[in-house]
């Protein structure tokens, strides 16, 4: 049986936003994330795909307990970490790490690379200062930099190099789970490939499980084992990566795939705007009888093939 590295159960996040003026303004409730359930199997890379505002980053932050969920549970290696306080959470922090999109803001500009990479060891009090630095320098080598970089500062590096450092910092504690929040979207094409390869290599070496959050379907296709597509805080489709690319079920998934720029000028095509109404109208419908479940008017995830879930309306 496949082991679960990270599991999100029915996770949701709600914001209350005051709108308009007056003494008693309307309070709008914004459902940033609603009822997201995900399983990240051990030693696998799961892609979480969506556009800005789809709630994918919010989900990632909640998974790391960097943002308090409004509802639902987070399980790391089977243990529920949803309600744990700072102290109780600390051992779990070692098992879960994160890499962000903006490598510039992800590294403290006032610290040297050695200090940055050694910081996790320092926070968790692992080893002497010397050992910490040593280990940090080793990790710099491991992510493709030189030991001499240890005394440099972030601003002296290129974006790709900084992202390597961020990865080294994330992995020095040998976590089980890595949440990678758009780690390649700010990078140039040639560097993007380097970072994707580095993640692939380290994942394989360390048996890492990665939750890979991205809006870039091309990258997701090259890197992930399976994909979950998010739209407006919900997951609308989830399947092994090739299944998504080969056989997208949801109209939104299809529109996302359509929007990928052609990689050959010959494949240029006219594109048109897909409205929310079109998405709603295009939501797949499945017969309850065929699925053997009770019918419902509201969309829910339906299993269309063994690993393929899609948000669909179940009709009688």
């Amino acid at each position: 049986m496949m082991q679960t590295a990270l599991e999100l159960r029915n996770l949701s996040k709600t914001y209350h936003i005051r709108a308009g003026g007056g003494l008693f303004p309307a309070v709008n409730t914004l459902h940033a994330v609603r009822g997201v359930s995900l399983i990240l199997p051990r030693n696998k890379i799961l892609g979480l795909v969506g556009e800005s505002g789809s709630g994918k980053s919010t989900t990632g932050l909640m998974a790391l307990r960097l943002l308090e969920p409004t509802g639902g549970q987070i399980l790391v290696g089977g243990a529920d970490i949803t309600g744990l306080d700072h102290k109780a959470l600390k051992p779990f922090r070692r098992k879960m790490q994160v890499v962000f999109q903006d490598s510039y803001s992800a590294l403290d500009p006032m610290m040297t690379l050695a200090q940055i990479v050694a910081e996790p060891l320092h926070i968790h009090g692992l080893g002497s200062a010397r050992e910490q630095t040593d280990q940090a320098l080793d990790w710099l080598v491991r992510v493709g930099l030189d030991r001499s970089y240890g005394s440099r500062y972030p601003h002296e590096l290129s974006g790709g190099q900084r992202q390597r450092v961020a990865i080294a910092r994330a992995l020095i504690l040998r976590p089980d789970v890595l949440v990678a929040d758009e780690p390649t979207s700010a990078l140039d094409v040639s560097v993007k490939a380097q970072i994707i390869n580095l993640l692939q290599d380290l994942q394989a070496e360390m048996g890492l499980s990665i939750l890979f959050i991205s809006h870039d379907l091309s990258v997701v296709r090259s890197l992930t084992d399976s994909v979950a597509v998010m739209l407006a805080g919900r997951i609308v489709e989830q399947a092994p990566t090739e299944a998504i690319f080969a056989d997208p079920q949801h109209i939104y998934t299809r529109s996302l795939l359509d929007a990928i720029p052609a990689l050959n000028p010959k494949d240029r095509q006219r594109r048109s705007f897909i409205s929310p109404a079109q998405i709603e109208a295009g939501t797949p419908r499945y017969s309850a009888a065929a699925l053997g479940i009770p019918p419902s008017d509201v969309p829910g995830l339906v299993q269309v093939s063994p690993d393929h879930l899609v948000e669909a309306v179940v009709t009688p």
């Binding site: 094409v189 040639s190 490939a193 990566t241 529109s255 594109r271 705007f273």
Partner: protein, 343 residues
């Protein structure tokens, strides 16, 4: 369209223009160099850039960050602050005007009217204190004598043209009230407002979502054809290039590496850098796999390598590559390559 005021015609006519230039040529840049003084040192962002664009033509400039592609555009409209920037060129003529000699009103007339530009981040490109409508109207009024109401109705039409659903509402909106995609449409509308002959698009979709990006690219392509403009699309994304332009210029380390019609570039890339770039694109085929990567990092503009800027990362480099800078030479009609190894 109203005619430009007589004085400006006279000014424009008085500037140097050589009779050999074909009437169609909108932009002609030869041997452009842009450098910035920084901490006492001089950083060369663009080194001997040559490009031209004709009426109705679309040119893509592709390159990674720091390759000098945006600086080239900014230099063409003299939008860089001088100093610290220093621009030299053997020739830089935009719509029959010598850009390097243009001053004050002449320059202002060049901008927006001869050439318009759209920028990467629509969120910061508008003045937050004024409505979209105001900013479009003022652009129109800056170049044409029209009544405010006329300009306003024209702005309304432009917003409708860029496929904004409720143009009247957007006209009276402040920038912060609109989404990035909407603002980028508004910026295109603003760029079109004076019927420019040439449109510079500097990474116009980088800050946008995938689906929005596709729509904006489509829109740019549509209006380019409709208005018969020349288009310069600056991007780091090969996909965008593939989608939008006819001819491509590949830049690296402040230099042009290769120039080719877009189909030829994708089919038969000539420069090793172009080859490597195309190979490193993720997601071209199905299945998890390692990508072909270009080792190393882009050159540091403050301390560029000698010879070919790509030689430290080039898989086929020879000794000569590190010493002599290859010149851009024609290998086939419409194809130029700057590589010692390319035939």
């Amino acid at each position: 369209m109203t005619l430009p005021r007589p004085r400006r015609v006279a000014l424009g006519a008085g500037t140097s223009q050589t009779p050999e230039i074909p009437l169609m040529r909108l932009l002609d840049i030869q041997n452009l160099t842009v450098s910035f003084s920084q901490h006492g040192g001089l950083v060369q962002a663009v080194r001997g850039m040559t490009l031209h664009i004709d009426q109705g033509e679309s040119l893509g400039i592709i390159g990674e960050s720091g390759s000098g592609k945006s600086v080239t555009c900014m230099a063409a409209l003299r939008l860089l602050r001088e100093p610290p920037a220093r621009i030299t060129a053997d020739r830089m003529v935009l719509a029959d005007v010598d850009v390097l000699k243009a001053r004050g009103a002449e320059l202002a007339q060049l901008r927006g009217k001869a050439a318009a530009m759209i920028f990467q981040d629509p969120m910061t490109a508008f003045d937050p204190s004024f409505t979209i409508g105001h900013q479009i109207v003022e652009t129109i009024l800056a170049h044409r004598s029209a009544r405010k109401a006329e300009a306003r109705s024209e702005a309304l039409g432009l917003l409708a043209r860029v496929e904004i659903k409720n143009p009247a509402a957007v006209l009276d909106s402040y920038p912060h009230q609109l989404s990035g995609g909407m603002l980028q449409r508004a910026m295109i509308a603003m760029a079109l407002s004076c019927r420019p002959k040439i449109l510079f698009a500097d990474e116009p979709t980088t800050a946008l979502d995938v689906t929005v990006q596709a729509q904006i690219l489509q829109l740019i392509k549509d209006v380019q054809i409709e208005f018969g403009m020349g288009l310069v699309m600056v991007t780091h994304d090969l996909g965008v290039i593939a989608e939008t332009v006819d001819r491509v210029l590949v830049m690296y380390g402040g230099r042009v590496m290769e120039q080719a019609p877009v189909q030829d570039l994708f089919d038969t890339p000539a420069h090793p850098y172009t080859v490597a770039l195309l190979a490193s694109i993720p997601g071209r085929t199905g299945g998890r796999r390692r990508l072909t990567e270009i080792p190393g990092a882009s050159p540091n503009p403050a301390n560029p390598p000698t010879g070919c800027p790509f030689h430290p990362r080039c898989p086929v480099a020879v000794a000569r590559c590190s010493q002599d800078t290859p010149v851009l030479r024609s290998t086939a009609p419409g194809r130029d390559v700057a590589c010692w190894r390319a035939e």
